[in-house]
Amino acid sequence: MYDKEKLEKIKQDNRNYEADWEKGVEKLAAKGKKGERKDKFVTGSGASVNQLYTPLDIDIDYRSEIGFPGQYPFTRGVQPNMYRGRFWTMRQYAGFSSAEESNARYKYLLEQGQTGLSVAFDLPTQIGYDSDHPMSEGEVGKVGVAIDSLADMEILFNGIPLDKVSTSMTINAPASVLLAFYIAVGEKQGVTPDKLNGTIQNDILKEYSARGTYIFPPTPSMRLITDIFDFCTRNVPNWNTISISGYHIREAGSTASQEVAFTLADGIAYVNAAIIAGLDVDTFAGRLSFFFNAHNDLLEEVAKFRAARRIWAKLMKERFKAKSERSMMLRFHTQTGGSTLTAQQPDNNIVRVAIQTLAAVLGGTQSLHTNSKDEALALPAEDSVRIALRTQQIVAYESGVTETVDPLAGSYYVEALTKRIEDEAWAYINKIDELGGAVKAIEQGYIQKEIQDAAYEYQKEVEAGKRVVVGMNKFQIKEKPPQGLLRVDPSMGFLQAKKVAEMKSKRDGNMVQAILDELRSAAKGNDNMMPIMLKAAKAYCTEGEICDVLREVFGEYTPIQVL
């Protein structure tokens, strides 16, 4: 980025600076003192950090590697004016207990100025069991809302016009079922599928490697996903058909570079699967979206987002020969890092979330969920959710970082970090290519092992006091147990099981059976399964009934144990 003569001078100055510093350190050593707080300086992910970064550290071509926002390789952002046009979507992930209670929380959040919805489903819904299934015992309504059929979904969105909000749904293995429920609710409200906006997570690969809510083996799972790509391209054109997620990979303990690498490797696998299924890359790639974590190391996180955009753009252009710029843009949602929150002195989490919010915004996120201070203890109470949302609003309206595009670009450190994360991620992507792609790498336990090693290393550093977590391993105080935690009504499981049984008794049983039979044949064949899913949804087939048919045809995934 600099001319050779100037660089040569900077090199000399830098040598002098280092020599002076060394002399200073020697003098201190002679007095038995140390010049620095610790022996080794590292990022949140454990990568070593130099004392100083200068133009010597960013020997890259501005036009091809950094460029302009809204232009290839999108290092500086996907829109030309970023937050000068509009802020990111403030989208709090929420859902608990019954559809009625969650509906009330959504309306509260919208009243508080939230701009998009994000649905958290309970574990039985995420794994395709109805609330009355034995495996659902104790889990109904606990980590999200319980949805058994279209009947629950109608209550969940009661009074929320689906043509006015965008809705993100964290649903993976049974994503097509919940998408069908959503489309059906829209139709009941008089909103046609082409007017729907939102996202389904629909990312099964990270379920195998990090999150754990898989149902079916990889091959039929990939088919369900590509069926959704194809169906939505033609019928629900504004829908983000997948949210390829590094969030959970990071939560499971990966480093920042691994988060980027394993997420983009999953992305490669989905694009490959869709191309093999006969789709043209530019028809679906523009609807792919991503989901990343934001941890505490502010500058490393900013660099991570910038590196991810650059790599994806290059992959789409060079490997997949995408023609449309839209296909090359990595658009992403961010959630602040749940695993960075402490149960000790929970108010401190507000500050952590504020730093992480800055990281996401300085990294150019398209939407953001901020965690609440009490999430290391329980589901968030209404007050703490409001503070979390206010944190985003303060960064948006008061911090000033939104007034220009990609304000940290050109920082010697941030550009050097961006390049380093890019290089490390490429090394992993190449390794995964050698193993035969993300599916094979997961089946061999490679990705899981890499994540677990990083997680264990981090834990050991915290326990050895090499990493300080304020309030947890340093600056502790005696605390009273926290008050006012949210509790899900214990009778919820029983009530929801009763509700689904009543709903079933009111249906046309013969029609339900006929549709489930039709679904079974569709699963055995090769046609797109979405139309029959929609038919099943409208006939009030339950999620469990639909998934049971698919379990019967597809089988269930058996994970490899890596320890």
Binding site: M135, K142, A252, E463, P481, P490, P559
Partner: protein, 133 residues
């Protein structure tokens, strides 16, 4: 001279919870502490956990749960172990478990609950002090 039998621990994930970072870290830490460790993997029913713990003749059943289902699933494991006459095993739990829920779990027969931020050395020492071999 008798060789001392290693402490055998089953690290168990009951219910539908997929968060196993903690379970896997604790399993590795137990192994590094010299215990023999068996990890059940995800989504085990209380019945499956009890069957494995008897079959593997473990001394300790360490249950990890972050989904909020602890109030149902942990006592169920204890109850089933008792029914099988295997209640000499030390049962401990860990995860996102509110303080208010801990007395009831202890009442049900869980010896100790370890909450977020606990160093791995704490359950290790607890096991060494309380295991019945």
């Amino acid at each position: 001279m008798m060789t001392e039998r290693k402490i055998r621990v089953l690290v168990a994930k009951p219910g539908l919870d997929g968060h196993d970072r903690g379970a896997k870290i604790i399993a590795r830490a137990f192994r590094d502490a010299g215990f023999e460790v068996i990890y059940t993997g995800l989504r085990q029913t209380p019945e499956q956990i009890v069957a494995v713990s008897i079959q593997e003749d473990v001394d300790v059943v360490a249950i990890s749960l972050l989904s909020g289902a602890h109030g149902t699933l942990m006592p169920k494991v204890v109850k089933l172990l008792r029914e099988k006459g295997a209640d000499d095993k030390l049962i401990i739990g860990g995860g996102v478990i509110p303080d208010d829920d801990i007395p009831a779990l202890k009442e049900a027969g869980v010896a100790e609950i370890f909450t977020p931020g606990t160093p791995t050395s704490v359950p290790i020492e607890f096991i060494k002090a309380n295991v019945r071999q």
